[in-house]
Amino acid sequence: MIAPSSDAIAQQPGAVPTSGAGTLLIETKGLSKHYPGVDALVDVDFDLRPGEVHALFGENGAGKSTLISILAGANTPTRGEIRFRGEPLTLADVGAARARGISAVFQEFSLVPQLTVAENLFLGDEPVRRGFLDRRNELQRARALLERLGFPLEADRRVQTLSRAEQQMVEIAKAFRGDLSVLILDEPTASLTERETESLFALIRQAKARGVGIIYITHRMVELRRIADRVTVLRDGRKVGLVDAQAADEATLIQMMSGRPISQVFPKVNYAPARTLLSIERLTTADNNVRDVSLEVRAGEIVGIAGLVGCGKSETARACYGLARVAKGRVMFDGRDVTGWKTRRMLDAGFSYLPPDRHKEGLVLARSAIENTSLPALHLPQFSGNIFLKRRQEKDTVSRLATQLKLHPLDLQREMGAFSGGNQQKVLIAKMLTRDVKLFVFDEPTVGVDVSTRVAIYRLIADLCEAGAGVLLISSDLPEVLHLCNRAYVMFRGAVQVELQGSQITEDRVLSHFFERAA
């Protein structure tokens, strides 16, 4: 039912079908998206053939999300042309895209937590009989769909009670609901187990066989080789290359993605492991997101924690920092038992945590760079007198840090929301440097930043380590863990799977512990 030529004939008797195999499902010419101050997408030519998996590869902020959101109808281009099966296409909204069989599964879930699985699956296209919802029919079709896809979900459960992986399945099922011609998947395996990933890949192969074109965003080299046919690499909103997925190797892709050889992206670090700073002993949190985790970090080393989203890597650090309740186990920091200490006390003890979401947890966006930077240390004698703030000293300190981190523009009074993502991240890091810190915990330090900031952040992390601080690097960006850390832990479902040292930290070894072991 997906074969494009027969479809066109069946639906539009007058239309001239374009010659069979050469027809592109989607073709863009000079597609651009301009936001005030940012070119999210610049002159991108992209095409998708029926029955292929075309991967998009690039850093956060490279333009992948902008491209797919335009193709899915969720965003409109500033310039450029989209053709769908040879015909010019303008998409008013997601509904218009879906009506043509273009469906997207975004990374940020588009589910309504208060509704059930079935209600979410048919949202916007509810079955209706005589003006009223046909809820029985809806439930039946939802069950049939879930069964066809092999997802073990109850159709009448509320989405807010589902796990992340289960929610991901609902998202994917939603895309498979109608007649599909283009399927857009944005890092679909980010929270799936190995078995779930396998069944997703099987679905993708089925869809390919039916002539569906698939646009696939991933960060994982392994998946490129397994599932993709062609790879388009984007950098800073521009297309930098189109390669054959089977022929591409890691070094080439990273070089294309970052615009510089891999040796220039990641600095060489001289590790000097000394005394143990942080020692977590059999830690279990009250919410059970962390189970029986033991790990340690020494001064003068960079220790990584890798794992899927929701595997407990972030939660482990947060439990140490007083952001999650500890049920069992012990946390030793700098020779003291700090189990259950509040955030303020941990900061005073020299433990600094960089939150992964700078908008939600990191910055007060409506206030200036200077106020944001000094906030963690504002109550200390360096910034506070008996009654009044020492604003001169505050300004001097922040200005020194901003210069050191190359904040751009170097305008300390500018409100945080007006800075680019990379510069916001620099301020977030500057916040950590206002105090005496023994252990730096970086949770996804390079999310959504440009390449040059990324390189600067890596350099800074290396410098901190060489200056004798301990660094714990929690990251979903695998190359980061592979190239920066001298030791790494891999977590899965709240538990540590393995600890790797030095040359043991390879992509294959880390990934082999990402998932549940085969039963």
């Binding site: 969720a74 997601v94 975004f106 588009s110 309504v112 949202l123 296209d125 009223f132 919802l133 059970n288």
Partner: protein, 341 residues
């Protein structure tokens, strides 16, 4: 769990049942039953058919407004202009009816047929402006509806110079105010019918589903092809429509058009929704509980009146109960959250 040792097993089983009851039905039905029992004990006149019918009639206006308020709250907004909508409807419908009745004194139903649509449409107009402001212009519901509350109140005062509008046909008051059958007054029946209609709307139509979806996750709804702006707009329009009906019924009850009939209605209707578990963040709430919520406030007020509680004290008690219910509901949500993990 921690009380295991101290408590005998029978008592433990009893508390278990209570906890489970609390978790499954929430705090409101329990509060309502407690209030009914308490007032029955305190006053012989409370639990009589006459008094209960009276309570229902008194709360029918609040019930109707709360139904509308609930729809707006489902979309993660609220409507502070429901009081002014009542006033505008009351004043304009009364002016229309009085004017027609003066011109055609022997055709009261003609006056009613003219005045009622005028009042309804004028009330609806407030909701249309609210809806346009929120859905189209993207202004926060707080500001739009607060502004419209002032504008509406001003219009009602200006039209009447602050004095009640007299001259409404007797038939209007007789039918929709004090009329009724099977021992229940007309507004109670209207409230019942509207409650059923809103229940059907929310649970059995696309629009209803979309109210929940837009409030639960606006972006997700948009990405699913829901017309989010239209949905938001309709929420405010339906709310104003329902409120206008309540305004007409109130006008019939009082036999005059009044500009200051709804001053306490915005907060009362929001309180009735909140005590019924309608989330201020949108996406949750159901009709039977909202009806119970409105009735509960009526019961409390009436019960305290017949048991001779001072009116100053009543205000405080009502407020305290609201806060208690909200706290209990939050506690319940946490308990449920812990169980599903």
């Amino acid at each position: 769990m921690t009380m295991q040792h101290a408590m005998p097993s029978e008592q433990q089983a009893k508390t278990q049942i209570l906890v489970r009851l609390f978790l499954s039905i929430g705090v409101l039905p329990i509060l309502l039953v407690v209030a009914l029992i308490l007032f029955s004990v305190l006053s012989d006149n409370f639990f009589t058919f006459g008094n209960i019918a009276n309570v229902l009639r008194q709360t029918s206006y609040l019930t109707i407004v709360a139904l509308g308020q609930m729809i707006v709250m489902l979309t993660a907004g609220f409507d502070l202009s429901v009081g002014s909508t009542l006033a505008v409807t009351s004043v304009t419908s009364a002016l229309g009816m009085a004017g027609m009745a003066a011109a055609y004194p022997d055709q009261p139903w003609l006056a009613i047929a003219v005045g009622v649509p005028i009042g309804f449409l004028c009330g609806l107009a407030l909701g249309v402006v609210n809806g346009l402001g929120v859905a189209l212009l993207g202004v926060s519901p707080f500001i739009v509806t607060l502004g419209m509350a002032s504008v509406g109140f001003c219009a009602a005062l200006y039209l009447t110079s602050g004095t009640p509008v007299r001259g409404i046909p007797y038939e209007f008051a007789d039918t929709f105010g004090s009329g009724g059958f099977w021992g229940l007054k007309a507004p109670v029946w209207v409230a019942l019918i509207l409650a059923i209609a809103v229940y059907v709307l929310l649970n059995w139509t696309r629009l209803g589903r979309h109210f929940y979806a837009v409030g639960g996750n606006l972006k997700a709804a948009a990405l699913s092809g829901v017309h989010t702006r239209l949905t938001l707009f309709l929420a405010y329009a339906v709310c104003a429509g329902l409120t206008s009906i309540a305004g007409l019924l109130l006008t019939a009850r009082m036999e005059t058009g009044e500009a200051n009939i709804g001053t306490s209605m915005p907060l009362q209707s929001i309180a009735a929704c909140v005590i019924a578990g309608v989330s201020l963040r949108g996406g949750t709430g159901n009709v039977p509980y909202v009806v119970l919520g409105a009735v509960f406030f009526g019961v409390i007020e009436n019960g305290m009146n017949v048991s001779g509680v001072s009116s100053y004290l009543q205000i405080g008690v009502t407020g305290a109960i609201l806060v208690f219910a909200a706290v209990a509901d939050e506690f319940r949500r946490r308990l449920i959250g812990r169980k599903t993990l």
